[in-house]
């Protein structure tokens, strides 16, 4: 007996170092801060927050095992557990997998003790044990002993009698006898054989949970039959519960309806030629690069403004989607991808706009496969999820692309896991997304920090209606993350036709499971992937085919300088594997505007065309060039007109005219860069006699104009004090003063004194409060507290604390007659009650 550990701490102490390392790896929160000794480690491993985290990370079968342990006697022999999991009939798969589950629980310090005395740590037990508030996923109710606690001894004996058992001396033995009857398959079967058919139907209904049902004050005979024999036990007013032992008998001993010892298969698998998959993925990778490049080009002269709350407005998203020729949902993905890769960002100016970053310039210069590596390395560990763009968060705010609140921390783990699952299949094989989602759900049934799990984690009282440990929205997020991950992988060309490509495999790295891969490792993996991808990407071409119908076809991707130049010279008509350009007068003019000459353009086309430049195209360029720049536009603020050319020449030659910045446009016209007034003054100073001209060409008569303000009102007098009050005002004032006076001095009815002593809230320091409450938990005594609720209303309450944890007191509130949770910082003080108070 000496070598059997009595506590978790003692057992942990006996574990090997590698065992402890394993524990700390799976539950890294225990390391923070590093525990002082094993006792501390054990204590911390037993805290609620830590246990919740650990439980959330269990896979479905291990979780089912833990749930079964929670409804089993404590400590529980392995045999009993195996029976609960596999049922009376036995189940080979469960029997095979159960040791793994128990070992996993033990490794995580959720279970300890030798095989004949398995113990679930107390916190985990509390978390998973069924109660009225937290129905267990097993659907089992409380045990006979728990359900009959507080039942009168007389009633117990009646039940014994009805069930055909001999009476006993005391309630304890009575409960034991009833439990023994329910657990005995043979006797129980005999008892149920005598049950009326309707009663059996009721039992069948409650069998797999929830085990609670309602009854009226005068139950129907078939319910009465069950109540009489203790097969239904009262659970509060008008509620009954099917005791656990009875349910287990009816279930053939199984704690779970469907134990799932093995993960769901990834099926149906579709096999494709791996080369086909790689090619499809490479094609998509190329499209991804083209799309991001197009986005950068679209935003080249500055992107849309940043919303005040951050992110891109819906209209700008729509516009970007149109520019990229895609849907808004996909546009959000490309935007977020470019953002994650550091290619676009906000410029941080006063009127904030999005724009390409300097690294975008570098990115554009990289070879295709390296550009893909940058995107892939940014995508894999990103927590920002474009999938939620367009939906509203919990507070009803719409989530904007590139905006805040897009981070979903489980995203990278889910993404990596989903891809790893695909990596586990033979090359070229794809499975439907639903199969991947089902597998992920099996692996982390509770994960996703859903409300259900959170409710279990928070020290919630009975007032929180927890529907179960698994919350539907949490499931949803994880499933949606998986869905998005697969869709994005396809868009990015990591997968092709739903199967992981060769470069996708390389991207996951040598240890695909290592979700905590460092940035450097990810980059290295991405580089390896890019090396595999490189030969699959189409080779950029350096030529186009020019045709007489004024189109040019690039039968593949073009080298960047060529693509850029051609993009200016011609309009893109069709995109895809090839690009079709059309030359129009407008597009040629654009190129001329960009500073190219007609000769350069002709030269450019003949260099990059494998065929002679068609004559109509050459003509088009020459024709547009001939007229380009025929009209010249400039700005001048004033002009000098004179019929005498010589006089104008004289003015131009005069040095004093230099500040007027004159330029001769025509023999008789000078343009100036100064205002007409300055020009007049300047010329007069030079000794000329210029006259001003109106817009219509008339000579303006120069006369000193009087200057006037717009219409204004004259200022009123400003007297020393306030104006003397008039009579009406004075009378009203006196009436108001009298009324106020009356209200203040009127005699009041006495207010009834508060029920508690002196009416004042008890006041204690927070340390005292904590100590007193903790003591009360141990002694199970009641306390008198002063409490200020969230609205600031103070009240006094009598409570019987049950648990103190995480700054909260869970207590039975005598005043409200229910279990409630109080934050410690809201308790103004506590006082112990006189013994006779409750």
């Amino acid at each position: 007996m000496t070598d059997t550990p009595r506590t978790l701490a003692e057992e942990l102490r006996t574990r090997t170092d590698s065992g402890l390392v394993g524990l700390l790896r799976t539950r890294p929160d225990l390391l923070n801060p590093v525990p002082g000794d094993v006792t501390q480690l054990a204590t911390r491993a037993g805290t609620r927050a830590s246990v919740v985290r650990a439980v959330e990370r269990l896979d479905r079968f291990v979780l089912q095992t833990a749930e079964a342990l929670a409804v089993a006697p404590d400590p529980c022999p392995y045999g009993t557990l195996a029976a609960l999991m596999a049922g009376d009939a036995g189940d080979a798969a469960v029997a095979a997998e159960l040791p793994r589950a128990v070992a996993a629980l033990r490794a995580q310090a959720l279970v300890w003790g030798p095989d004949d005395r398995l113990r679930l740590v107390r916190t985990a037990r509390e978390l998973l044990t069924p109660s009225a508030a937290h129905p267990s996923p097993t659907g089992l109710g409380p045990t006979v002993a728990e359900a009959t606690a507080g039942m009168s001894p007389g009633r117990l004996q009646e039940i014994l009698a009805a069930a055909g058992l001999p009476t006993t001396h005391d309630p304890v033995s009575a409960v034991a006898a009833l439990t023994a009857l329910f657990s005995d398959r043979v006797r129980m079967a005999a008892l149920l054989d005598t049950a009326p058919a309707e009663s059996v139907t009721v039992l069948d209904k409650l069998l797999w949970g929830p085990p609670y049902g309602g009854v009226t004050d005068r139950p129907a005979p078939h319910l009465q039959w069950l109540l009489d024999r203790g097969l239904l036990l009262p659970a509060g007013a008008r509620n009954v519960v099917l005791p656990r032992e009875a349910a287990l008998h009816l279930r053939g001993g199984r704690a779970h309806h469907t134990p799932e010892p093995l993960p769901p298969a990834l099926a149906p698998a579709t096999e494709r030629d791996p080369q086909l998959v790689d090619n499809a993925a490479a094609n998509q990778a190329f499209t991804a690069l083209a799309t991001v490049e197009e986005l950068l080009k679209e935003w080249d002269l500055g992107g849309p403004p940043v919303l005040r709350a951050g992110g891109l407005s819906v209209r700008d998203l729509k516009r970007t989607a149109t520019a990229l020729d895609t849907t808004e949902q996909l546009a959000a993905f490309w935007l977020e991808l470019a953002y994650a890769a550091g290619l676009i960002a906000s410029d941080g100016e006063a009127d904030e706009r999005y724009a390409a970053t300097p690294s975008a310039e570098e990115w554009l210069q990289l070879p295709d496969h390296q550009r893909w590596a940058v995107l892939a390395a940014a995508w894999l560990p990103a927590t920002r999820t474009p999938g939620v763009v367009g939906t509203a968060d919990a507070k009803g705010r719409a989530l904007a692309a590139l905006g805040p609140h897009l981070d979903r921390s489980p995203a990278p783990e889910v993404r990596r896991r989903a891809l790893t699952l695909l990596a586990g299949l033979p090359p070229g094989t794809s499975v439907p997304a639903a199969a991947v989602r089902a597998r992920l759900r099996w692996e982390r049934p509770l994960r996703g920090a859903g409300p259900g799990a959170r409710a279990a984690a928070a020290p919630a009282g009975g007032t929180v209606p927890a529907a179960g440990a698994v919350g539907a929205p949490a499931e949803d997020l994880r499933a949606r993350l998986a869905q998005w991950a697969l869709a994005e992988a396809e868009l990015l060309g990591v997968t092709g036709r739903g199967a992981l490509s060769a470069h996708g495999r390389a991207l996951l790295g040598r240890e695909p499971e290592a979700a905590d891969a460092t940035a450097a490792e990810t980059d290295a993996a991405a580089a390896r992937a890019a090396a595999l991808l490189a030969p699959l990407l189409p080779e950029p071409l350096d030529h186009v085919l020019l045709q007489a119908d004024l189109t040019a076809v690039a039968p593949g991707p073009l080298r960047r300088p060529l693509a850029e130049a051609l993009g200016v010279l011609a309009d893109i008509e069709s995109k895809g594997g090839a690009t079709v350009y059309r030359f129009t007068p407008a597009s040629v003019r654009r190129a001329l505007d960009a500073g190219r000459s007609a000769a350069e353009l002709q030269e450019f086309l003949s260099t990059h065309s494998r065929t002679p430049v068609p004559q109509p195209l050459a003509y088009l360029i020459d024709d547009v060039a001939r007229r380009h720049g025929q009209l010249r536009i400039g700005a001048a603020t004033a002009y000098v007109r004179c019929d005498d050319d010589a006089l104008l020449a004289e003015i131009l030659a005069d040095r004093r005219a230099a500040p007027l910045r004159l330029r001769r446009l025509a023999p008789t016209v000078l343009a100036a860069q100064t205002s007409p007034e300055q020009l007049l003054d300047g010329l007069r100073a030079m000794g000329y006699a210029p006259a001003a001209e109106s817009a219509a060409g008339d000579v303006l008569i120069a006369r000193a104009d009087s200057y006037r303000t717009p219409p204004r009102t004259a200022p009123g007098p400003v007297p020393d004090g306030p104006p003397p009050p008039d009579r009406t005002l004075l009378e009203a004032a006196v009436r108001a003063i009298r009324a106020g006076d009356l209200a203040a001095t009127a005699e009041r009815k006495p207010v009834p004194a508060p029920a508690a002593a002196a009416g004042a809230l008890p006041r204690t320091t927070s340390a005292e409060t904590l100590a007193t409450v903790q003591a009360a938990v141990l002694t199970q005594s009641a306390l008198w507290i002063g409490y200020v609720n969230a609205d600031g209303a103070a009240s006094q309450r009598v409570i019987a604390p049950v648990r103190v944890e995480g700054g909260f007191v869970t207590a039975y509130d005598h005043t409200a007659d229910e279990v409630r949770t109080y934050p410690l910082h809201r308790i103004t003080g506590v006082a112990e009650l006189a013994d006779d108070a409750v």
Partner: protein, 571 residues
């Protein structure tokens, strides 16, 4: 040509990994166009594979553009091709992996065809049945379908008013659920017609066109001008061996049809009737003009009874791209008869191509102009755009002209007149047509060139006389207005000079080129000049007009009028 190095001769699938990717002649674009590299060794095989479902849109020298449309896919279904063949064709010949979404879309579109069928029910007449009940429910809810159908027979079928057979097909097509028409055709009144192939035979492509049409039941045959569409009509009549109604654009064309039919078939002069403004004969083969059919008197079309006057077994629509809107309506009522549409240019500036397809039938045969030219059945043509610099005063007048007068002014300037005359002089001795839009311009030209002018007011007798004289070589220059745009058979014309046109009409340009495309006795090249005023709206219209031909591979040369005149003076 784009030299992709040595191309392995085996099929793409057999190539090496990298080779396979770059090997195909076809590039599938995301906007559902297909680019076919014509100089590729697999181009012909590829063209054959994609022709059933893709429309040839442009055929310039290096890369031909095809477009995949729902209509094309449904026609392919109607012709017995399934989605798998279409996808196979794309995947097999594509140079780059075909976007998956596009393949899915093709399969989805094709699966919409045939869920609804029009069948002849012995008891209820014309019945629309479905294999997919929700589709029937969906289309019956449409307001446009409701007036066309009668009683519901059972959950899967509904009676269709026999008169609405065309309407309902058109409406269902617009709703995206094309109906397969299995109701068949009436045979019509039998009448013996045979081709008399003495010393000539149908050309292979004409034969193919006739077969394609007959196999499909109804439809449109697209052949270049001068490629012998009349013979395709005659061939179809010989297949039908039934009374035939032929609808043509004008009386001259009607006479030419009659002449040709008497010459090439067993039909005699007496068996062929002309139904036009002047004559109203109804014979086993009747040739009617669109004009007489669409004449409206007191709000009714008095000549409509022609359609019911005999039990026609075949209706031929010549120049189907000109089909006037009222004829569309009558045609909708003629769905039980075989219909053959003939055209060189199925481009309508009013965009009603799809109405032609849904009412007359899908395109059954189509040959690129350059292909027929290569086979030697039409003359090669040298298309030249002559750019005329306007004089300063002309430019000023042009700049100040009212917007709606601008085209007329720049199209009829004296500078153009001069250049046109110079061109005619240059080709002295060759049979030359001068074609224009504006009568006063033509009259003036006729006067200067001392050539007869044929215009709207010229009587048919006079027209025939002049055309005959031209064919005989008695006159070498003929000035014609747009009355000569179509169906005028002038085999000896070798030079056409276009001085003005109906704004930017693409099909008019093609038709005018067609006037000189009949193969020449000495096999020499035809010349087509388009005289255009530089830097005016005339030039913009010309660019638009040339688009169809440029897309058919006719590369226009541009010549400066000044250079041309200078060269002439030197010579």
């Amino acid at each position: 040509m784009c030299g992709r190095g040595a191309r392995p001769s085996q099929r793409p699938a057999a190539g090496k990994r990298k080779a396979r990717r770059v090997n195909g002649p076809l590039i599938v674009q995301s906007d559902k166009t297909l680019l076919l590299e014509v100089d590729h060794e697999l181009a012909d095989a590829c063209r054959r594979a994609i022709a059933p479902f893709a429309e040839l849109e442009r055929a310039p020298e290096h890369i031909h553009t095809y477009r995949v449309t729902p209509l094309g896919l449904w026609n392919a279904r109607a012709a017995g091709h399934d989605a798998e063949q279409v996808v196979d064709a794309l995947v097999q010949f594509s140079r780059y992996p075909v976007p998956h979404a596009l393949l899915v879309d093709i399969a989805e579109t094709m699966s919409r065809y045939g869920r609804l069928t029009l069948v002849k029910d012995p008891a209820h007449g014309l019945v629309l049945t479905t294999t997919d009940r929700p589709v029937l429910e969906e289309i019956l809810r449409s307001k446009k379908v409701q007036p066309l159908v009668g009683a519901r027979l059972d959950p899967d079928s509904v009676v269709v008013h026999p008169s609405e057979r065309g309407q309902i097909k058109q409406t269902l097509l617009k709703l995206g659920w094309p109906a397969e028409d299995l109701a068949g055709y009436v045979d019509g009144e039998a009448h013996p017609i045979e081709l008399r192939e003495d010393g000539w035979a149908l050309r292979p492509y004409q034969q193919q066109a006739v077969e394609g049409f007959w196999h499909g039941g109804s439809g449109v045959v697209v052949l270049p001008c001068g490629a012998g569409k009349t013979l395709v009509g005659a061939g179809a009549m010989a297949q039908a061996k039934a009374t035939t109604l032929i609808l043509v654009t004008n009386t001259v064309s009607a006479r030419q049809w009659k002449h040709e039919l008497v010459k090439r078939t067993s039909l005699t002069e007496d068996e062929i009737g002309e139904y036009s403004g002047t004559r109203k004969e109804i014979r086993p083969v009747t040739i009617a003009t669109y004009q007489v059919l669409t004449t409206k008197r007191k709000g009714v079309y008095p000549h409509l009874e022609l359609f019911d006057s005999r039990d026609w077994g075949l209706i031929v629509y010549d120049e189907v791209h000109l089909l006037p809107a009222p004829v569309f309506k009558f045609t909708a009522d003629l769905q039980a008869r075989r219909r053959l549409g003939l055209t060189a240019t199925l481009v309508r500036e009013d965009g009603r191509e799809s109405d032609v397809f849904s009412l007359i039938g899908p395109k059954r045969f189509d040959a690129p102009w350059k292909e027929i030219e290569a086979q030697g059945y039409i003359a090669p043509a040298d298309c030249v755009e002559v750019r005329v610099n306007l004089t300063e005063s002309e430019r000023l007048t042009y700049a100040m002209a009212e917007t709606e007068e601008k085209y007329r002014y720049c199209a009829t300037t004296a500078s153009k007149q001069q250049v046109t005359e110079a061109l005619v002089r240059r080709h002295q001795g060759e049979q030359t047509l001068v074609i224009g839009q504006y009568i006063d311009q033509l009259d003036e030209l006729g006067e200067h060139l001392d050539a007869p002018v044929i215009k709207g007011e010229t009587t048919n007798a006079q027209r025939e006389k002049l055309f005959d004289a031209f064919r005989q070589g008695e006159i070498s220059v003929l000035v014609v207005s747009k009355v000569a745009n179509f169906s005028i058979d002038l085999p000896e014309a070798t030079v056409a000079i276009q001085v003005s046109g109906t704004f930017g009409s693409r099909q008019e340009e093609a038709q005018r080129l067609g006037r000189v495309l009949r193969p020449k006795a000495d096999g020499h090249e035809a010349r087509f000049y388009s005289v255009v005023a530089r830097d005016t709206i005339d030039q913009d219209f010309a660019a638009h007009r040339q688009r169809f031909l440029a897309e058919q591979g006719y590369a226009y040369r541009i010549v400066d009028a000044d250079e041309l005149l200078a060269a002439d003076e030197d010579a």
